[in-house]
């Protein structure tokens, strides 16, 4: 089985080729089922590989072919199968499969159906390449592929200016991160002479290079991760990515793309642990992003935008976990988050689909009776996001907070707990505004309907996942996932794991964070169900602070003024230089030649007599000159 791991990315690639080449003319409606079937096949193999790895394989490299070979420098394309990658494979393929099925229903009426189902499996393919890579260079190939596909899919409705702009923004911000990745990759090669994970990690363990160099590598890779995983300060592309179709958002937020940064840092754990202080900065960036994005999510009215900031916030938690030296907790949260965030997005998509492409929650309300299945699955996902026991989010988030507390980062822990309260509040608000209360737009309400089965069944499957996946982390710190991932990320440098679960500590910490979460929910309910305090009054009382949140801390405006405008001015200057100096020179030259040609044109009269006359005249001149020389008349 493990030798056939290459089939996992091969299926989506084949689906992409088939749909891109034959989708428009021949496959048409069949592109969706075809892509879904391909991902299903990948998922089945991924499950098989996962089971096999669980059976006791720590690390296997399956060589495929040599990518490049220059002197001593060789890059092989090989699939690296270890607990970390097999977990990611499982999450990516299963979630992607459900989203593909859902998209068949969601995109059914779109003209670009075949185009959508060409890019969709390609996206999954790129992510699988990234996950399976056994060296940084091949990982970078997948990394860039993911960036390209996100560009194509965010700008799927490129006829409208907003998606086109959002796609550009996503691409450019990712390029900044990619620059960091490239720097990290090159430095790694210069320092270690190899880009293979196993070689690099072995060297780090045996004779680590200077602390400064190591920090540089780690920071550069972290810059790449902030770009891909939408952390401060490169977070602002992700909320804008909402302009794409909802299944695309679900795929970006849950399965592919944003988890890549977390995976990169988790994969590079040995590097980060050797680099020391840099690791803490990862945690701080994560915590800051978590609280920053959660506060923005409090006041947004676009249902997808709330979810988007929620993703940024949850990714912050994952980096917090990585920063406090708990990569297992980060991967655990990545897996559970994939389920409930995919579900939240698909649920939002179901609502948007049901009410006819409206995303503003102020126009919804009371939809619970119209779409019960969507409602109940959304409630489960919301509960998981708010970390209510025993749903999935509870186990993973508490593990992160517990690791932060036990790892000696009480401030990060406090930030995490407080953000948990904010999270519970905004998700309560979103669900209440959408599904409860009186319908605020009667026309919309009358026409609202539950989505077709092809869309609701993935919701049910994801809801089951959101409820149950947490138990792979039970009992805390010593669950299945810990035993499974430990060999892949343990380096011996991290905080020692005490034997047996410390139930007192766990229950205390869980009680605190659950209490904060429940407080958030209750406050949300009293505010939006009872109007005590009235949301509008609160907004008015908060005044300028509220405006800052609504405008997302003016980050976009700041970037526009500081970077975009400067870049535009520079581009304008370069353009002027090109037009006036470079083109000007060439044009001036052409103008001179044209003038000369215009003058000579008059000589071409087309009358034979004139030509004959000029020949005779020339002859006479030659004769006179020759005669002059011969007689000495012209000689001095």
């Amino acid at each position: 089985m493990i030798q056939n791991v290459w089939l996992i990315p091969a299926f989506p690639l084949a689906a992409f080729l088939a749909n891109a080449l034959f989708g428009r003319r021949w496959l048409r409606r069949w592109t969706g089922p075809l892509a879904s079937a391909a991902i299903a096949a990948s998922a089945i193999i991924a499950i098989g590989i996962f089971l096999e790895v669980r059976g006791g394989i720590e690390r296997t490299t399956v060589p495929l072919y040599t990518f490049m070979s220059v002197g001593d420098f060789r890059v092989n394309v090989s699939a690296l199968v270890d607990p970390l990658s097999s977990t990611m494979l499982l999450v990516v393929t299963v979630i992607s499969f459900l989203i593909h099925v859902y998209a068949i229903g969601y995109m059914a009426h779109d003209r670009g159906f075949w185009r959508f189902f060409s890019w969709f499996p390609l996206f999954v393919f790129a992510m699988l390449v990234l996950v399976l890579a056994d060296n940084y260079l091949v990982m970078f190939v997948g990394w860039e592929g993911v960036g390209l596909c996100s560009y194509l899919l965010i700008g799927f409705w490129f006829e409208r200016p907003e998606p086109a702009g959002a796609a550009k923004k996503a691409f450019v911000m990712n390029r900044i991160g990619d620059w960091g990745f490239t720097i990290g990759m090159i430095t790694t090669f210069l320092v270690f002479g190899s880009m293979n994970f196993s070689d690099v990690f072995e060297r780090v363990a045996k004779d680590p290079p200077a602390q400064g160099v190591l920090s540089l590598i780690c920071l550069a890779f972290f810059l790449g991760a902030t770009g891909k995983s939408a952390q401060l300060p490169l977070h602002s592309w992700l909320p804008d990515a909402m302009e794409g179709p909802t299944p695309v958002s679900a795929l970006i937020h849950a399965a592919t793309m944003v988890t890549a940064g977390v995976y990169l840092v988790a994969r590079s754990t040995p590097l980060y642990e050797a680099a020391g202080p840099v690791l803490a900065s990862v945690g701080w960036v994560g915590a800051l992003t978590a609280i920053f994005a959660a506060t923005i999510a409090l006041v947004q009215f676009d249902i997808k935008r709330v979810m988007a900031y929620s993703t940024v916030s949850q990714l912050g938690y994952m980096f917090l976990a990585l920063g406090v030296g708990a990569p297992i907790a980060a991967m655990f949260h990545l897996a559970t988050h994939a389920f409930f965030k995919a579900l939240l997005f698909l649920g939002s998509g179901s609502v948007i689909h049901g009410v006819g492409d409206v995303q503003d929650m102020r126009r919804m309300g009371g939809l619970r009776s119209k779409m019960p299945l969507t409602y109940w699955t959304m409630v489960i996902a919301g509960g998981a996001l708010a970390a209510l026991p025993p749903l999935a989010g509870f186990w993973s988030k508490d593990e992160i907070l517990g690791s932060a507390f036990k790892g000696g980062y009480p401030i990060l822990w406090a930030v995490g707990v407080f953000t948990g309260g904010l999270t519970a509040f905004y998700i309560t608000r979103a669900i209440w505004l959408t599904f409860h209360g009186q319908p605020r737009d009667h026309h919309l309400f009358e026409h609202a309907h539950e989505s077709p089965r092809v869309m609701t069944w993935p919701l049910v499957a994801l809801a089951a996942g959101s409820a149950l996946v947490g138990f792979i982390g039970f009992p805390p710190d010593h669950g299945f996932i810990h035993a499974f991932l430990a060999p892949a990320v343990e380096t011996g440098h991290g905080p020692a794991v005490e034997p047996g679960t410390d139930w007192t500590a766990f229950l205390t910490l869980a009680a605190i964070s659950t209490a904060v979460g429940v407080t958030g929910i209750l406050f949300g309910l009293s505010m939006y169900a009872r109007s005590r305090p009235d949301p509008a009054a609160v907004a008015r009382a908060a005044g300028p602070y509220y405006d800052v949140l609504v405008n997302k801390y003016y980050v976009d405006e700041l970037y526009d003024r500081r970077f975009v405008d400067v870049a535009k001015a520079f581009a304008g200057a370069a353009w002027a230089f090109d037009i006036h100096i470079i083109d000007g020179l060439v044009n001036r030259l052409g103008w001179i030649i044209k003038l000369g040609g215009g003058g000579l044109r008059r000589a071409q009269t087309g009358i034979v007599g004139n030509y004959a006359l000029s020949i005779v005249a020339g002859l006479l001149v030659v004769m006179v000159v020759y005669g002059g020389y011969a007689t000495g008349w012209l000689r001095r």
Partner: protein, 109 residues
């Protein structure tokens, strides 16, 4: 009685300029071609005369008239020129029924 060289050259020059004048002033393409022939033959006459004179002055064999070989070349060139020239005139005539060179000015710049 021997004719002096100057007489040959004079006749040649006269013929040449008659031909040149014809080329310049006439409009009929066929006549222009005939005038070109006249110029060519004027130069032939000069060549023959100079060749004979060189033989008489001569170093070496008095019957050596190698210069006259040029005349044969000129004949060949003239024949080819007439063939091509007439073909062009014929083609131009088919395109547009005239042999007046002033009316054939499609190549005007």
């Amino acid at each position: 009685m021997s004719v002096p060289l100057g007489a040959f050259v004079a006749v040649s020059a006269v013929l040449f300029f008659i031909g040149a004048a014809g080329v310049l002033v006439r409009r009929n393409a066929v006549v222009i071609l005939m005038c070109v022939e006249l110029m060519l033959n004027a130069s032939n006459l000069a060549l023959v005369a100079f060749s004979r004179r060189a033989g008489q002055l001569g170093a070496g064999n008095p019957l050596d008239q190698r210069g006259s070989v040029f005349v044969v070349f000129v004949f060949v060139i003239a024949a080819a020129e007439v063939a091509v020239g007439l073909a062009i005139i014929l083609a131009a005539y088919r395109n547009r029924p005239t042999v007046n060179v002033d009316e054939l000015h499609e190549m005007k710049g």
